[in-house]
């Protein structure tokens, strides 16, 4: 069997001011599967995404191992890393659609990678761009080629950005809040498309979001991130049916689609430069005990395929 698509071991990200955004995260993702990373603003989920692609801002440092198809990306020299980005791993962000070049047509932007890396001519690149735009669900792609970003809707722009991320056929797509700025129905269509790419084309998808409803539509497995650590990992269906970590449960209860009025999580996420002692969630946790302020619990197996970083999570309550 070949190496797993993505294997992250002991990943740490630290910013210049001493903020530890990611603290010892392990992840694994296979081809044709979707892993979701869920957490609030400040949980470290975007730092983690940038660290995987080695796109962290200057002054931030990543340590650990990020193996993509068996190769440790953190150990590659910058030139080799350039060759990996786009070709083996694509990236879509919340603002990707808004970040398209306003002065260049859709055909030029989608076709750019092929012209640059595969030496394709303008006409052939445009032809392939039309094909790819069709694949990401844009109707009449031929007509879109000559358009400019301002002539597209927000949903269309985000699909064009997705097409660009997929242009060179990466095995892994990292998508950070790819649908957050979009209207609910546009969001639903884009999520269905992502799921289709995973199932039909065997894409590995690392989906990063704060929204458990997004997770429910797309991911097979979910890791819940709090203050830079994974506090729970579970098959998505099981997590939504019965969250084991108090933070996962609080996130679910805060969601407007959850039964009953959305319940706010008291307090706010901790300062990453001054984390509380013990479990980072304990100051906001309704079930906290004195012991929770002493030692930070490690992720431990709770049930098959399920791990939780809370010694008081009740395995008996699981379905």
């Amino acid at each position: 069997m070949s190496a797993p698509l993505l294997e992250v071991r002991g990943l740490e990200v630290e910013y210049a001011g001493g903020a530890r955004a990611v603290r010892g995260v392990d992840l694994a993702l296979e081809r044709g599967r979707c892993l979701a990373l869920v957490g609030e603003s400040g949980s470290g989920k975007s730092s983690l995404a940038l660290a995987l692609l080695r796109l962290l801002p200057a002054g931030a440092r990543a340590r650990g191992r990020v193996a993509l198809e068996g190769r440790d990306l953190l150990a590659l020299d910058p030139r080799a890393m350039d060759a990996v980005r786009g070709a083996r791993v694509g990236l879509v962000l919340q603002e990707s659609g808004a970040a398209l070049d306003p002065l260049r047509s859709v055909a030029e932007q989608v076709g750019e990678a092929w012209r640059l890396y595969e030496g394709l001519g303008r006409a052939r690149a445009a032809e392939r761009a039309a094909e790819l735009l069709g694949r990401v669900g844009l109707p009449q792609p031929g007509e879109l080629l000559g358009r400019y970003p301002h002539e597209l809707s927000g949903g269309q722009r985000q699909r064009v950005a997705l097409a660009m991320a997929l242009a060179r056929g990466p095995a892994l797509l990292v998508a950070d809040e790819p649908t957050t700025a979009l209207d609910a129905s546009v969001q639903a269509r884009l999520l269905a498309l992502l799921r289709e790419l995973v199932e039909r084309e065997g894409l590995g998808l690392l989906l990063i979001t704060h929204d458990l409803a997004v997770v429910a539509q797309v991911s097979d497995e979910t890791a819940v991130l709090y203050a830079g650590r994974v506090v729970e990992r579970a098959p998505t269906r099981d997590l939504l049916a019965a969250p084991a970590h108090p933070y996962s449960a609080a996130l679910l209860a805060a969601h407007p689609a959850h039964a009953g009025a959305p319940r706010p999580i008291p307090g706010r996420p901790p300062e990453l430069r001054a984390l509380p002692t013990g479990c980072a969630f304990h100051p906001r946790c309704a079930a906290a005990r004195p012991e929770c302020a002493r030692a930070e619990p490690a992720l431990a197996a709770l049930a098959p395929g399920r791990e939780v970083a809370c010694p008081y999570a009740d395995a008996g309550a699981l379905p």
Binding site: E40, S41, P139, S153, G154, G155, D183, A184, S185, V186, Q187, A188, R189, L191, A192, R195, E196, H210, D211, L212, A213, V214, A216, Q217, L240, A250, L251, L252, A254, H255, P256, A257, H258, A261, P262, R263, P264, I265, R268
Partner: protein, 322 residues
Amino acid sequence: MSAPRLEARGLRVEHRPRRGARVLALDGFDLRLASGEAVALVGESGAGKSSAALALTGLLPLAAGSVRVRTDDGAALDPAAARAAERRRARRELGWVPQDPGASLDPRRPVAHALGEALAYHRGLRGAELAARVAAGLAAVGLAAEHVARFPHELSGGERQRVALARALALEPGVLVCDEITSALDVSVQAQVLALLAELRRARELALVFVSHDLHVVRHVTERALVLLAGRVVEAGPTAAVLARPRHPYTRALVEASPALAPRPLGAAEALAPLDARGPGCAFAPRCARAEARCRAERPPLAPLGEVEAACYAPEAGSGTP
């Protein structure tokens, strides 16, 4: 029903781009809203939700129709009145919270200014009295006194949205108009802002116009919902009935596409694939599975249908959505 707090009749909003044909953003929009009542405006981007909200506050010129807001002493005022004095009094009654609090707060001015400006202008407050009212306004939205001197960039998204709420409430309006105020926020912060909104409504008998594309949020916040499509209301009624047993196929498609905590069947959202909706008939007809020849030829009027009103010649049975 007693005299409505806010009443709109036949609102029509047109956008006239410098090039190209004019766009009808809102047509024939009616609304009667009582004190303490909350109504949702729902629909996709471009449906006319924000145009309706802006028109209600007098911030968009009307091509036709009228808006009246009633004050506590019973006067019915026009927020777009030609007389400046009436316009000012009417707008004091209409608090406005825009979608992006980051963009609507002056980045060079501290939070105190955002609240103080309106109080100084409309109420003539100065000095210690003004400072006390600003502090009380911030406290009412759950912000501490230390926030007074902060600048917008020093606040989190949730805090900025609280400041925007405090500013809209500074003049103690009878009506609050909120445009997608939680859609840029994290789920946990969103829950805090929604809880705050519910508390403010209870405490002040506020009438609320709540624009949102998130049907789950709408379900928790409002009692009545208006569904907009291509500038027209196509379904209206109690929020619970509209969302649980939609009669217009468009509403049903919206409900089915709304992200839930369980996987939606693939293709649930396909009914909403965008199409050019101009033409004489129902704007949803080109993508409606139930459409008949008549639906494409003439536009159905809004008419009573069980618990709700719907503008549809071939309505759903209203037996509930999966």
